[in-house]
């Protein structure tokens, strides 16, 4: 089997491998290299060592974007997971219309970030004008909460589906046994259901944290970083460093920021995955 197949390497692997090299390996390698260079295009790069990184760390807008992203990621991760878990708990009881509710809650997930951003921009601006508040373009607080509401709206349905799948796998015998032993519904929630769905919680936390950190489309369309870059998150900050500023040094700095961003996303993912895995129940 292996021998026969081996000869067919050009047919089976080569197309994907070639595209993978063009679409990922080369850009990734070049990107890493260019973070140490000053450049306008890939061809005219000159080596400048770590100075891009030093400048990136001294760029106040990058620091601001970092803390804005952290504040956004923490609040949105908590809200999305708590709300999604609550809805999943309700929907796994036998309630009329479960399927319809599931359909409705999941739907925003399929709509693209740019479209979602504009839908909410219209809605939030109208609400703000009703309340006689400054509109999104001048209102950082509204921009922040707008992003959170938008993110919740988009992600709750997705996480809810994963939690429902987890809750349905909790063996009913366990819950029955607990009930016979006199456990209250709160006890069976915290002592049985939550520990049993720990794998789902791991996945959902991982997805929501990384999604929040990587958020770009929604940020671009809802607030565009307004006012004056105050609602800019990391991904948009990197994009603006590349394409929104004139001057030869900015591309190198943008690429250095992108490397820092990449390391950050990987690190957060790994730490989070490890810390929740430890709490999982052996089954």
């Amino acid at each position: 089997m292996e021998k026969a197949l081996k000869k067919y390497f050009p047919v089976f692997v080569l197309p994907t491998l070639a595209a993978f090299i063009i679409g990922f390996v080369v850009p990734f390698g070049e990107g890493f290299y260019l973070s140490f260079c000053k450049f306008i295009t890939v061809k005219n790069a000159t080596w400048v060592g770590f100075s891009n990184y030093v400048k990136a760390f001294h760029d106040a807008s990058f620091g601001h974007a970092f803390w804005f992203t952290v504040a956004f990621a923490v609040v949105s991760t908590i809200l999305i997971n708590v709300l999604a878990f609550m809805i999943a708990l309700v929907l796994t009881r036998e309630i009329k219309g479960t399927n319809i509710f599931r359909t409705v809650f999941f739907m925003p997930n399929l709509i693209g970030g740019i479209v979602l951003g504009y839908i909410w921009q219209i809605l939030i601006n109208s609400l703000l004008s009703k309340l006689a508040q400054p509109l999104l373009a001048l209102n950082t607080t509204a921009g922040y909460w707008g992003l959170i509401v938008l993110m919740c709206w988009q992600q709750i349905g997705y996480m809810m589906i994963i939690y429902i799948a987890g809750l349905q796998n909790v063996p009913p015998e366990l819950l029955e046994a607990a009930e016979i032993d006199g456990a209250t519904s709160r006890q069976s929630l915290w002592k049985i259901k939550v520990p049993m769905v720990m794998p789902s919680i791991t996945i959902c936390l991982f997805l929501t944290i990384t999604n929040s950190f990587k958020l770009f489309d929604q940020n671009l369309s809802l607030t565009g970083g307004e006012p004056a870059h105050a609602s800019e998150m990391l991904a948009l900050n990197i994009y603006n460093t590349f394409y929104g500023r004139s001057g030869a040094q900015w591309r190198g700095i943008g690429q250095a920021k992108a490397v820092i961003f990449f390391v950050l996303v990987v690190a957060i993912g790994l730490i989070q995955l490890r810390s929740t895995r430890e709490k999982e129940v052996q089954q």
């Binding site: 047919v11 070049e30 890939v42 009881r93 309630i95 740019i114 479209v115 839908i119 589906i161 991904a235």
Partner: protein
């Protein structure tokens, strides 16, 4: 008695969730209502008012969006790019995944690790160099951007396919080989049909990604010549001077509506596919 007791809280939840669902749908319904208003009646102050006899615009916003804002071209580009990319990803990545799960050598292991690695890399890390590479290789038109999508989407697809491939018993394929099938015949006659459920899952995930993707086509394609739907909607704010809200809302509805229809038709598969991607990723 017991049954009656249980039914009452259930009904309460149904009512609560119905209200929440209505609120959940409201943003889309609001855009839908506003897309039927005349331009002068759309402002932040009047968004919440229903269209009246004077402000009702009929389908004129939709006609405008289709006739003069290039919605149909964008729809065509989006459709072509999505279909070609997803078809290419499904075919090439499933073949590649079969090879790397069945042939155990260094290259297979390396390829698998690289694929997993590529899934966690944020797009900003490669966006500039990727667009430059695409320009150099002339992969910057809607007709061949699918090669870029194959490269950048290979990670997830190969990962999901090989996860499933490991559970297919080797005996079936060996039997086909002994019966005289070449590996290519074995793949298309034996492996491909078994892969169908995974194909649907991966296909849905990749379709959602390519269809909604904004940044990659913006950086790779020439925006003056080719605009996909997300690019068109973003372009409304940037380049038509004053934002024409009416046609923009019509565009949003025209974009969202097909998604909702497809979703309602293939709901089971879509939810299953998306969750399979999450659980494995």
């Amino acid at each position: 008695m017991n049954a009656a007791k249980k039914r009452t809280p259930g009904l309460g939840w149904t009512i609560v969730l119905s209200v929440v669902s209505a609120l959940y749908m409201y943003p889309i319904i609001m855009v839908l209502l506003n897309s039927f208003k005349v331009e002068s009646a759309i402002s932040t102050a009047s968004t919440f008012q229903l269209p009246t006899a004077e402000t009702f615009a009929g389908l004129s916003n939709y006609v405008n969006a289709i006739a003069s804002k290039g919605f149909l071209q964008s729809l065509g580009y989006s459709l072509f790019i999505t279909l070609s990319s997803v078809a290419l990803i499904l075919l090439c990545c499933s073949m590649c995944a079969w090879y790397i799960t069945r042939v155990h050598n260094l290259l297979s292991r390396l390829m698998y690790l690289m694929c997993v690695f590529s899934m966690v890399v944020p797009f900003q890390m490669v966006m500039f160099t990727l667009s430059q590479t695409a320009d150099q290789l002339k992969l910057n038109t809607p007709w061949n951007i699918c090669i870029i999508y194959l490269g950048f989407g290979a990670g997830l697809a190969v990962f999901m396919f090989s996860g499933f491939m490991k559970s297919i018993p080797l005996e079936i394929e060996e039997a086909a080989l002994i019966d005289g099938c070449s590996p290519i015949q074995t793949y298309f006659h034996v492996v491909f049909p078994i892969l169908k459920p995974t194909m649907i899952s991966v296909g849905i995930l990749e379709t959602m990604w390519v269809w909604n993707d904004y940044l990659l086509p913006t950086l790779v394609l020439n925006i003056k010549k080719y605009k996909t739907i997300p690019m068109l909607i973003q372009y409304f704010r940037g380049s038509f001077g004053r934002v024409e809200m009416g046609p923009m809302m019509a565009c949003i509805i025209l974009t969202v509506l097909p998604i909702i229809v497809v979703y309602l038709l293939g709901q089971k598969h879509i939810i299953k596919g998306v969750v399979a991607g999450a659980v494995k990723g």
